[in-house]
Subunit: 497 residues, 2 copies
C-alpha cells in the first residue's frame, strides 16, 4: 500500500489502488457545461500556479483541471487542491486570492486520471524534465544525460486520450528540438493508432518565466512571453489562447518562427544567467587573491548601461532552471542535431557554479579555521532571498560540508518550515536562534529580515563572533558597523574586517 | 637614416638623429607661465584625444604636451600635431573643434623628448600594453604572454625626469597589480637614485572607456569614471584632477579602495563583453544547425530587462581591448598573485572569438560554395560600424582566408582610405564598387551607408547574386526585399533566403 504525505500539513493520504477518477471529472464538467476545458499536466511550481492563472483568466471563463501522477511525490498535491489547501506556500498574496476565487467558482479540480485529457480543449504541459548529472571530484561536472522516458510517457498519455482538435501547449523547458522530434511524432502516432486524423490538432511551445516569490502570479500574467507553433495555424491558436490569460497591455508577446527557436530561447536565456554567475565566480576568486572587494568593483562597472546586468558571485546557484538548462541545450545539440561541437561556455558555467558551495566552504576554513567544536548559525536555506524555495539550494551542499566538521548547527529560515532535502524542521524565529553561544553566523540567503534594524542591533549585542557573508548581503555601512564588534568576511572580497 | 610616414597625408618625415627637443619645450612653456602642465604619454587612439580633452578642460587652463617615441610608428604623430593636422581621422566633429581651439590657444605641443616630464604637474600614461598571443590550429589560442619591457621603460622614463611632487595617472589597461607591483617601485627607485624623496608624489589609476566614433570626445568627458590612488592622498589628487576635465554633472565618478581594484574593473568589464560575444557565437552555430535565426531569438529575449544586454554574434571581435584584456587579467592572476587557477571563462572567450572569422569563412563555403573565380565585394573593413578603426579587425583575417581561394576582391570602406594591416588603398565610393560583375557581396561592418534607400535600390538593380551578411546587419524586412532578387544568408541564422 502506497502513501503520499502532504508537505504543508503533514497529512498522510493513501494512494488509491484503482486509478479511476472519472466520476469526479464528470461531476465537475457537468457543472461547467459550455466552458472550454483546460487541463494542466504537472502540479509543481509552474503547473499549480499556471492552473490558478487559467482559472482566473482575463477575458474567458475556463474550467480548469490539474493532473499529476498518483505517486508518493505528487498524489498529495491532487488531494490538497481538492481539499482546499493550495500545495505551495508562497508569499504572493495573489496566490491565496486566486485560489479562493476558484473555490467560490468551483472551476478548479485536480486529478490523477489521464481520461481527463479526453475532455480538454487545451492541454498545457508543465511537467519536469530533469538532467542526470555525473559530478566528479570537487563537484566538477564530468558528464550528464537527459532521460526523456518520463516526458515521453506523459506526452503519450495525452495522445492516447485527447480529442483530435486539441491544442497542446508545451511549457516545460525542453532540449531544443523536442516539440518537433519527440512531441509531434508521439501525438501523431497515438492519434493514428486510434484512427483519428492529424490535421486538426494544434501544437506549440511557449515558455514560462515563473519566478517563485512575492510576484509569483504576475511573473506569469504580466511578463513578456515568447511562443511558437509547429505550423502557422498552431501559432495562431496559441496566440489566441495566451491572450486570454496574459495581460498583453503590460507585456510583449513575441512569435518566433519555429518551436526549435522558442525552445532554444528558453535555455539560452537561462544559460546566459548561469554563465554570468560563473564569470563573477571566477573573478571573485581573483579579487580575494588580490585583496580587493569584487562587489564594489561590480557596482562601479554597473554604472555603464551596457554592463548593468553584471551579476554578483555567491554561495552557489540554486533553483530548477540555471542548474540544468545549459545542459539540456548541449545535450540537444548533440542528440537531436548531431553536432560535433559543444556549448562549452554554457556547460562550463554549470560546472563552475556547481563547485561554488565547496569553494565557499574552503574559503570559510581559510578565514575562520576549522569548524570543529564551533557553534554555527546558518541564516537562510532557500536559494533566493525572501522566497521559500530550496530546490537545488547550494546551502544544502554547504550544510553537508559543514556537518563533516561539526554538528553544532542551527538553521534559520522563516520561509521554510520543513527542509525536504535535509529532512529536518527549520527554526523560523530569528531571535531565538541568535544566541550567545554562537561562534559563527553564516548569511546564506538574502532574506530582508537579516538586515532590519532589530536584527542588526541584536547582532551587535552578541558576544564577539565571526560573520561570514556568502552572498555580499551587507552594505558597506552595515559591514562597517558589524565589523566594529565582530570579525566579518565576505565571500568574493579579499578584505577581512 | 630612419623615416616615419604620416598615415593621413602620406608625408614622409626624417626622424632626427639627435633627440633633443628642449628648445621647443622651453619656448612653449614660456608662453604658458603659471599654468599647470599636463604631459600625456602616448599619442594613440586614447592619448591623442585625452590630450585634446585636457587642453580644453572644463574649469582650468592647462598647458598640454603630448609625448611619444621617435620611431617609425609614432614620430609622424608628433610632427602631425605640431604641423596642425590631428593624427586621427574621426567623425566626431568635436575632435576638429577641440583641436582648432588648441591651435588658437597654442596650448598643445607634441614632442619625443622625455625631458618634458621634468616640467609636468600631471603625467597621464596612455601607452599601449600588448599581449603576445600564440595561436594554434584554426586560430585557437594556445598560450600567450605579456611583455612588460616597453611599459617599464616608459615608466622609468617618467621616473628619471619627473619632479618629486608629480601626479602620475595611469590610464593604460594593465594587468591588475601593475601600479602596485611595477609602477610604484620603478618610480620610487628612480626618485631615490636622483636623491629625491618619495613622500610627495602621487600615483593612481583611472581607466578610460574611450570609444572611437561620433562621440569620441564625450566618451572621455561625459562617461562614468572609476579611479583609485596608491594611497588616500593620491586618490584625492586624482579626483581633484579628474573633476577639472570630466563633466561630473552628467556622469558618475567612483572611487575604489585600491589600484588593484580599478585595474581589475577595467579588464573585468571588457572580459564581460568578450564573454558575452563568445556565448552568442556558440549559440549562433547551434541556431544554424537547428535551422533557426539567432537574431530573432536574442531580440525576443532582450524584452526582459535582465537580458537586455545579450549580444549578437558576427564575423569577429576587433579593436584593441576585447581581443586581449581577458588575457591581461589571467596573466596577472598567475604572475602577480601566484594563483594556481585560471580565469577559464574569460580566456576561453578570447579563443572562441579569435576563431570567428575562420568560422564565417567556412560557413560561407558551405552556403555559397568555393570562391574560385568569383568576384567578391566586401563592404566594411572596420571592426565597428560607422567608425574607421581597423585595429585587430576580423575582416583582415577573413580577407586573408578569401584570398586563398580568389584574388578578385573589391574592398569598400568610406571611413578608411588606406588599410595599414593589408597595406592597400580602400575604395570609398560605394556605387563605384557595386558593379554588375559581382557574384558575392559580403557585409562585414555595420556602416549605416549600407542600408540607405539608395544602397538597397542599387543592390536590387544588380544581377542575381549572393549576399552574405556576417553581422546580422539587415532587418527582417530588408532581408525579405533583398531575398526577392538575391540569395541571402545571414551568419548565425539557419535560414537561407
Amino acid at each position: 500500500m502506497a502513501f503520499s504525505v502532504n508537505l504543508l500539513t503533514q497529512e498522510t493520504y493513501k494512494i488509491p489502488s484503482v486509478l479511476d477518477d472519472s466520476m469526479a471529472i464528470e461531476e465537475f464538467l457537468s457543472r461547467h457545461k459550455g466552458k472550454k476545458v483546460i487541463v494542466v499536466q504537472g502540479l509543481g511550481f509552474v503547473g499549480a500556479v499556471m492552473a490558478l492563472v487559467c482559472a482566473n483568466a482575463l477575458n474567458e471563463e475556463y474550467a480548469v483541471i490539474g493532473v499529476d501522477l498518483a505517486n508518493k511525490n505528487s498524489y498529495w498535491k491532487i488531494r490538497s487542491i481538492n481539499d482546499g489547501i493550495f500545495p505551495l506556500s508562497a508569499d504572493d498574496p495573489k496566490i491565496t486570492e486566486f485560489f479562493e476565487k476558484t473555490k467560490v467558482k468551483g472551476n478548479f479540480l485536480a486529478t490523477y486520471d489521464p481520461i481527463v485529457f479526453s475532455h480538454a480543449d487545451v492541454v498545457i504541459v508543465d511537467i519536469n524534465l530533469d538532467v542526470q548529472k555525473n559530478s566528479g571530484q570537487n563537484f566538477a561536472l564530468q558528464d550528464f544525460d537527459v532521460d526523456l522516458t518520463g516526458f515521453k510517457a506523459a506526452i503519450r498519455s495525452i495522445g492516447r486520450n485527447c480529442r483530435d482538435d486539441v491544442l497542446v501547449l508545451v511549457e516545460t523547458t525542453v532540449p531544443p528540438g523536442t516539440c518537433e522530434k519527440v512531441v509531434k511524432p508521439i501525438l501523431e502516432d497515438q492519434l493514428g493508432l486510434r484512427g483519428l486524423g492529424t490535421s486538426k490538432y494544434h501544437l506549440g511551445h511557449s515558455y514560462e518565466r515563473v519566478m517563485p516569490g512575492p510576484e509569483y502570479i504576475d511573473s506569469i500574467r504580466e511578463f513578456p512571453r515568447v511562443y511558437s507553433g509547429c505550423n502557422e495555424n498552431s501559432a495562431d491558436a496559441i496566440e489566441f489562447f495566451l491572450r486570454t490569460i496574459i495581460d498583453t497591455s503590460v507585456c510583449s508577446l513575441t512569435r518566433l518562427q519555429h518551436t526549435n527557436a522558442t525552445e532554444m530561447a528558453k535555455v539560452l536565456e537561462n544559460s546566459y544567467r548561469a554563465m554570468n554567475i560563473a564569470f563573477a565566480v571566477e573573478w571573485s576568486r581573483f579579487a580575494e587573491e588580490a585583496g580587493v572587494d569584487l562587489y564594489s568593483i561590480i557596482n562601479a562597472i554597473r554604472e555603464r548601461k551596457t554592463h548593468a546586468n553584471l551579476m554578483f558571485p555567491g554561495v552557489g546557484v540554486g533553483g530548477y532552471c540555471l542548474t540544468k538548462d545549459p545542459l539540456l541545450a548541449s545535450w540537444a545539440r548533440k542528440s537531436f542535431f548531431d553536432s560535433p561541437s559543444d556549448l562549452s561556455m554554457s556547460v562550463n558555467s554549470v560546472s563552475i557554479n556547481d563547485q561554488m558551495p565547496l569553494y565557499a566552504f574552503r574559503r570559510l576554513n581559510e578565514v575562520f579555521g576549522d569548524l570543529k567544536g564551533k557553534n554555527i548559525t546558518i541564516l537562510g536555506i532557500s536559494y533566493r532571498g525572501d522566497v521559500g524555495d530550496t530546490r537545488f539550494s547550494p546551502v544544502h551542499v554547504l550544510v553537508n560540508l559543514i556537518r563533516e566538521q561539526t554538528d553544532r548547527i542551527q538553521l534559520h529560515d522563516s520561509f521554510v518550515s520543513y527542509w525536504e532535502e535535509q529532512d529536518c524542521m527549520i527554526e523560523s524565529d530569528l531571535f531565538k536562534i541568535l544566541d550567545l553561544s554562537t561562534d559563527l553566523v553564516i548569511i546564506s540567503a538574502g532574506h530582508s529580515e537579516y538586515r532590519t534594524k532589530a536584527t542588526l542591533e541584536k547582532l551587535m549585542t552578541m558576544k564577539h563572533m565571526f560573520i561570514y557573508d556568502t552572498i555580499g548581503f551587507f552594505s558597506p555601512s552595515e559591514l562597517k558597523k558589524l565589523s566594529s564588534k565582530h570579525k566579518v568576511s565576505v565571500l568574493g572580497s579579499g578584505n577581512i574586517n
